[in-house]
Symmetry: D3
Subunit: 131 residues, 6 copies
């Protein structure tokens, strides 16, 4: 259960409904997922979060599938159950194959392991890595 109720379309103010409808239009689906329905309790936070997400996740120098895989990596380390599920689904929808997914998990696991070793050993940064 969320700490707040989920706002349905019927409960939504005009400002909230505007964001819900933009989400529908950008994603080409009628479904608005729970994250936005919870966030809708604060319409200004909903609007700011959606506007920024839309910009950040748009195609750019990195393609949307790679961005979703990065999102999965961050969400995994932050231990966000909701975000792991939603962005793994999004990455798959944008073309992530089973083989890519296996490699994504392998890199996340490897990095988490060497992060722990480098921190445990307090390894000093090599000068050649400095700008």
């Amino acid at each position: 259960m969320a700490t707040v109720s989920l706002i349905t379309d019927d409960d939504a103010s005009a400002d909230v409904l505007d964001v819900f409808n933009e989400i529908r239009a950008v994603r080409g689906t009628n479904y608005v997922n729970n994250f936005w329905r919870a966030l809708a309790h604060d319409p200004a936070l909903l609007r700011a979060t959606w506007d920024r997400l839309k910009t950040v996740m748009a195609p750019g120098a990195l393609n949307p599938m790679v961005k979703e895989m990065l999102y999965v990596a961050v969400s995994t380390v932050n231990g966000c159950e909701y975000c792991v599920h939603s962005h793994t689904a999004a990455a798959k929808a944008k073309g992530m194959t089973d083989e890519m997914y296996g490699e994504l998990l392998a890199v996340i696991g490897m990095a988490s392991q060497t992060n722990a070793l480098a921190t445990g050993l307090q390894v000093p940064v090599d000068e050649i890595f400095e700008v």
Copy 2:
């Protein structure tokens, strides 16, 4: 300072030197960075870590530059100063442009923000995200 001294080539056992030389060969440089020189205090751990890293980071369904960017994302969230430096340098060496780097940072920041919001709100996972 590390919690252990850094093993130089002169101090290295034959087993350790074998790993150092493989690192040199695979990376095409004579430089062996501090992480491996600290880890060399435990030759078995050094060998296992290097063997696995070499496999995980090799070209596959994901290209090495994307893998390095994923590594930067994980290292940032884990707060590993050493790994942020070493893998940002590696990503740049493998072709990450300034524009890609800006987008990488933007995704890491965005994901960290919505991870916190989803966890703070304890948003329940939508059924459509379940397998």
Copy 3:
């Protein structure tokens, strides 16, 4: 499910029941929440944790509502589902309005974002911030 069973009043030793009854008296409710009932498997840990919590969360230079909001912030970043729920409920009970809650979430999200950016960029601390 917890890794231990939850200790009911009927199962509780005299030492454990003393703590349960203090919790009831301080909070003005007959309800003792699951955290204490799980911790009760180790009466000394239960006593030490409750004694310290009671002191730390008492009114002081900061009021109890602000302390609960700080608790929510820490619990969110640590990813503690139980604590997010219990301390969000406590903050509301101590006067946190919907508007305050929205601002609390916005600050947690913003801080998590710039924390990630500062760590990803490894920004050096300005001298003016040093004591």
Copy 4:
């Protein structure tokens, strides 16, 4: 050292200088801290981050000092050295007394401890905490 050089006013593009000058105006100081000078490598990320920060940290239902203390709490748990320093300085500048600072640290420490205990015990959320 940062992973990028710090942009001075002389190096700054017009867009970047606009943000630097807004920071100066809002904060009533000529000093622009390193975080913004590092972020300036990506002018769009700089602009978006500053615009959002300015809004989130403005006086609202919570006063700016409380917001800075929340920022310190989040930054501490995320292990962001830079942010701990900059926001502790900001909280002091906005009125945090030594006594408040001691209580802030005590709450952060207490919450981190019980977060660990609740997660280690996997305590189930009480129904009364559910919305």
Copy 5:
């Protein structure tokens, strides 16, 4: 629900079944837990993870029970619900008494608290701790 289905023995390829059977032999039980059944979607990742785990957790200078307690400590701080459950069960199976478990939790809680205090205060490392 996992992000992938759990591979049963009937669905398993020969490579996967080999790992499952090694797990059974090493642990002296017919039961293969969900972690391995999820990981089995990537047979190479399954094989590499199992081979390494088997080596790391074998008796050595530290006994297996102590290793499991260390695993619980790491899993708790990383907020891994699955791993907290599986390794707490493993530690108990290898001899962890109720008293040891209470002390394990007390140390995890204490360390999390002083970690937060040392990071919040940004305490500089004493020279006597340096190698």
Copy 6:
């Protein structure tokens, strides 16, 4: 630099000096490390933290060396540079050999890796792990 100055014996109040002297007596050394000198800005927090630490780290069902290794594990995952250094030194002083240290690091690395994999895959907890 810490966010506060370090309290010397000359600057210390009688209450603070009492704690410093207890630390000296319990540890059998005249040296009081920086953590306590920073914490001394809040005498009540100093006293409460020391009293609890002294109890938690005393010999019990687990020996002090094992407790220090658990402390290193927690501190590593929490990314606390100060605590990694101080508790690695303490573990060595209490008998941790090089071989034990290598195994400690290997377990921390392994656990961090499988924590990430289990969270990334969102593996459901097996019923047999439930109490």
